[in-house]
């Protein structure tokens, strides 16, 4: 029969008690627990075990330490006595630390940096990986690996035999939200009426969305995001019931969602939650034309289900895959992909979840490593202090102090240091979190958009780290000190300390090895950043300003839009600092449209599809962003709506589909129209660095404003090349606003900044690795210097004898250097092995650099070796200057 839970718990607790207590009462305690748990509920027993067991654990361990040798009856039990002892230790530790301020400041600073950086990274990991989205029981939620159309979602949602509920998430779009006539761009997220229920999210005011809200052509209602409600409505509960206008349509606010809820992904933070059925009414561009609620071919929803308790994920996945294959009309090729159900948590990080995860893990690893190096360094410094206090400890032992008291006192000192470091570390953590906000995680996840705050969990981590580090670096010195031989320590200072120099060399080697790992990481990231900046972009982002508008949100029809685009361009081009300006409907680096094409005179191979990427641009576009023309011409003012449709192709496209023939005058098909090629340009990056050049096409902006594929009511972006881009930004805003004060205008800024985001992981890697590896290098230098001076001091007498017997200063220096560099050399070798085996972890973030890049590893080794040599040179020189007469007399 299995032992009851409480008994097993107590057996475990007993095992942690002092052996004497276990021997004396263990059997009886277990017997009692057995008897009691037969008559008490398990829950009550477990509660008791937690309270009583831990209490007695602390008491039984502390009692002998706290009790003086000859205790009057119960003295050890008097409340406060162990506390008083501890207080005494802490006071003494404080006095000792205050007596050597330099050491204390260095130690606290090291710890503060280490603990602070770790707290900050934990907070980031906590907010992204551990509990990214505030929903109820996220482990029950699964996400369909393929998006779905609305009719198909409705089929999935009927499977209540498998799911407690199935919801749909339609993404978050920019909307123009007008409150009392004042319009502002906001993010509207579309979700099925049952979504709040499925996610387990409540409303703080009013109500959440309900299935009855999610009906086609019904009145539009919305629920506000908590933060948006605070920011825009000042947290006024009376907002419930008010009517606002979204993209010109009236919408009634029915509630405010609970704090922390921000939809089902971290990559956008919605301001407003709307039912999916409102999507065709609210949307103005493409989405208003496609009929998203009835077309089963239009795929736009992320489906999320909450599993029933009695259904396994695999079972649900199999059922949904069957359903999926029935829903997909089986074509001649059959279906190529199976449907999987993915855990909800991975969904939070967007499409690049795996990359984000490994990137954050990397960051956590780096700061963890730095803290370890700091610990090794402090252990070394404390050993040196303990060595200096051997005589004092010897005296205390001789006078009757117990070893436990000595250990306790030494540990009090290191824990005091660590806790002080932890408190200072909180400040560092806050500063680091603020600094992190300017970076992006891979997948364009803005760190600034993720709510990062030091919460209870982060505080617990900080405090725990402080205690653990304090014990970690304090344990070895304390243990050594408690083993001090009373007689030897009182008789002479130097002998018996050689074992210590062994430990110290070991710690030093470990420190060097870990530093090398960090340095190598810094080197690889730096090299990678250099190559990333060297990758040809296909344009020149310097001196280019972009501004985005969305006329559809202001319900412009295509005629009015055409007038606006022309007038705006005219105004902007008239500004003195503007050299070139043009409209485009997309922004390179943020993705181009993707479509099927055909090329005249090119025979498609069987199963070959001509997928091309492209955008619509105005005449001066290529000049404005600095893309070079290779042949033919760019668009001109004569390429108007009525004229023959013209296009420009990229070199990659020309090479691939015209293959030696002259593409100028040739034709390709796009959006069911045949387009004549008038020019060839170099290709640009589409989404990320390092991607292979893809075939690209450019269509004339003016020729595509109207019609079924018209872009007039989609977002449009103005590209302006200027002599003085910084001053242009406010002017541009002014000029565009002058045309329409209520214009939905956003993202005005330097193109360079948005391009810089492409190399963001590399930048962030360089910044962090450089910071921490420099810190590690500094610590290693201190460590090497410390050990070398310590060894030199220990060997004063021996060196004196050597010099007396005729050793030259140079010989002594060489001897000291060679012996001092042994732990460094061993550390370097171990570090190289470690770094080489770890470097593939960052392979995904390296651009054109091998993770085993010999140049990086060579340079890093050289830097460490040179630093080590420099750090041990001074003590060696001092040792060589020893006066033999004095050295021998002193002993």
């Amino acid at each position: 029969m299995r032992r009851p839970t409480a008994e097993r718990l107590y057996a475990l607790l007993l095992w942690a008690h002092p052996p004497a207590f276990r021997r004396a009462c263990g059997k009886e305690i277990l017997q009692l627990v057995r008897t009691a748990s037969a008559r008490t509920s398990t829950r009550e027993m477990v509660m008791m075990a937690a309270r009583d067991g831990l209490h007695s654990l602390a008491r039984e361990w502390l009692a002998p330490i706290a009790a003086p040798r000859r205790s009057p009856p119960f003295l050890e039990h008097r409340p406060g006595e162990p506390m008083r002892n501890l207080l005494r230790d802490v006071k003494l530790a404080g006095r000792l630390l205050a007596a050597s301020p330099l050491f204390t400041i260095a130690a606290v600073l090291t710890l503060a940096l280490g603990i602070g950086a770790n707290t900050a990274m934990f907070t980031l990991a906590d907010a992204t990986l551990l509990r990214p989205l505030q929903v109820t029981d996220p482990q029950q939620l699964v996400v369909w690996s393929w998006s779905s159309s609305y009719p198909h979602y409705q089929v999935y949602a009927k499977r209540t035999d498998i799911f407690q509920g199935v919801m749909a998430w339609g993404g978050a779009s920019r909307v123009n939200l007008a409150v009392d006539g004042s319009a502002e761009l906001a993010r509207g997220a579309f979700m099925s009426g049952n979504a709040f229920d499925v996610l387990g999210v409540r409303a703080v005011h009013g109500r959440t969305l309900l299935p009855s809200d999610d009906v086609a052509n019904g009145p539009i209602v919305g629920v506000l995001n908590y933060d948006y409600w605070r920011a825009r409505f000042g947290g006024d509960p009376a907002v419930v019931g008010r009517t606002v206008r979204v993209n010109g349509r009236p919408l009634t606010i029915v509630g405010v969602a609970e704090q922390g809820f921000r939809g089902t992904t971290l990559s956008v933070s919605p301001s407003l939650y709307l039912p999916t059925a409102a999507s065709p009414l609210v949307h103005t561009g493409f989405m208003s034309r496609v009929d998203p609620l009835t077309r089963s071919g239009f795929v736009w929803l992320t489906v999320i289900g909450r599993l029933r308790d009695d259904v396994a994920v695999s079972q649900a996945a199999a059922a949904m895959d069957t359903l999926y294959s029935q829903l997909q009309a089986p074509g001649p090729g059959g279906r190529d992909e199976i449907l999987r159900l993915e855990p909800f948590e991975t969904r939070a990080l967007g499409s690049g979840a795996a990359t984000v995860k490994s990137f954050i893990t990397l960051l956590v690893g780096v700061v963890g490593l730095t803290l370890l190096i700091g610990c090794a360094n402090l252990a070394n410094l404390l050993l040196a202090r303990a060595a200096a206090r051997r005589r004092e400890i010897g005296v205390r032992l001789a006078l009757g102090a117990t070893r436990q008291r000595i250990v306790q006192q030494m540990l009090a000192e290191s824990v005091l240091l660590a806790v002080t470091g932890g408190v200072a570390g909180l400040g560092i953590a806050l500063a680091s979190l603020r600094a992190l906000a300017k970076y992006q995680l891979p997948g364009r996840l803005e760190i600034a958009a993720i709510p990062l705050e030091i919460n209870g969990a982060s505080l617990a981590v900080t405090f725990g780290l402080s205690l653990v580090t304090g014990l970690l670096f304090g344990a070895v010195p304390a243990w050594r000190a408690s083993r001090t031989d009373v007689l030897v320590s009182l008789r002479d200072q130097s002998r018996g300390a050689t074992a210590q120099s062994g430990i110290r060399s070991g710690l030093l080697g470990a420190q060097v090895a870990l530093s090398l790992v960090l340095l190598a990481g810094a080197g690889l990231f730096a090299r990678s950043l250099m190559s990333a900046l060297d990758v040809p972009l296909g344009f020149d982002p310097r001196n280019v300003v972009t501004a985005s508008v969305n006329l559809g949100l202001a319900r412009y029809e295509s005629g009015r839009a055409r007038t606006f685009y022309a007038a705006a361009l005219e105004r902007v081009q008239a500004l003195p600092q503007v050299q070139m300006a043009a409209w485009g409907n997309l922004i390179p680096t943020r993705g181009l449209f993707m479509g099927e094409s055909a090329v005249e005179g090119y025979t498609q191979k069987p199963r070959e599809s001509l997928t091309v990427y492209g955008m619509h641009v105005g005449p001066q576009y290529f000049g404005a962003i600095g893309t070079r023309l290779r042949a033919g011409r760019v668009f001109s003012a004569t390429d108007t709506a009525g004229a023959e449709p013209v296009g420009i192709v990229s070199e990659a496209m020309a090479r691939k589909y015209w293959d030696g023939r002259d593409p100028i005058g040739g034709r390709f098909r796009m959006f069911s129209r045949w387009i004549t090629v008038v020019g060839v340009v170099e290709g640009t990056v589409v989404r990320e660095l390092r991607e292979a050049p893809v075939p690209q096409v450019y269509l004339a902006f003016d020729q595509w404003l109207e019609g079924p594929q018209g872009i007039a009511s989609d977002p449009a972006h103005l590209f302006v090349r200027a002599s003085d881009p910084e001053t242009l930004v406010p002017l541009l805003r002014e000029q565009l606003r002058a045309l329409d004060p209520e214009l939905p205008l956003y993202d005005i800024g330097l193109f360079e900044d948005s391009v810089a985001a492409l190399a963001m992981p590399q930048r962030m890697g360089v910044a962090l690795f450089t910071l921490f590896s420099l810190l590690a290098l500094g610590l290693a230098t201190i460590g090497i210097y410390g050990v070398a001076s310590y060894v030199a001091a220990l060997r004063t007498r021996e060196i004196g004898v050597r010099v007396a017997l005729g050793a030259t200063a140079a010989a002594v220096r060489r001897m000291m250097l060679v012996q001092g560099s042994r732990p460094v050399a061993i550390g370097i070798v171990i570090g190289l092995v470690l770094a080489l085996s770890l470097s593939r972890l960052i392979k995904a973030f390296l651009v054109d650099v091998s993770p085993f890049d010999p140049l990086t590893f060579g340079a890093v080794t050289a830097i460490l070796a040179a630093t080590a040599l420099a750090a041990s040179y001074l003590p060696a020189r001092q040792a060589a200057r020893i006066d033999p007469v004095r050295a021998l007399r002193e002993e």
Binding site: F21, A24, C25, L32, D52, S56, F74, E76
Partner: protein, 121 residues
């Protein structure tokens, strides 16, 4: 019982005031010998269920009480009301009884003073 002259009984007053755990255990044992579980139940009964003494605290305190000779171990025997398992019984010592008396006297002085000043429980 043979009295050890090298270490005479300490005065009962040396032990005062008693910690709640010790006070409870001495009270539980003053009228009869009990084993660990019975002490636990008795303490709970004496305090109207407000004090639940856990096994760790109980035996930790028993150990100290034994060391201070305020209680003594009786022989092991089964409890007729529970099962057949043999249990160790504890009883209060003469010193323990004196200490409990002294503590009761101390507490009742305080209690009387409190009542005289109309302090309500």
């Amino acid at each position: 019982m043979q009295k050890r002259h090298a270490r005479p009984d300490p005065a009962a007053g040396d032990f005062l005031p008693l910690s709640p755990a010790i006070h409870h255990i001495l009270l539980a044992l003053v009228d009869e010998e009990r084993h660990g579980y019975a002490i636990m139940l008795e303490v709970s009964r004496l305090t109207g269920g407000s004090t639940k003494m856990g096994p760790g605290t109980l035996y930790g305190t028993l150990k100290r009480l034994l060391a201070a000779r305020l209680i003594e171990e009786a022989e092991e025997r089964p409890d007729p009301e529970l099962d057949d398992e043999r249990r160790r019984y504890y009883r209060i010592s003469r010193l323990g009884a004196r200490v409990l008396q002294a503590e009761t006297a101390r507490v009742s002085v305080l209690l009387d003073a409190a009542r005289a000043k109309k302090v309500r429980a």
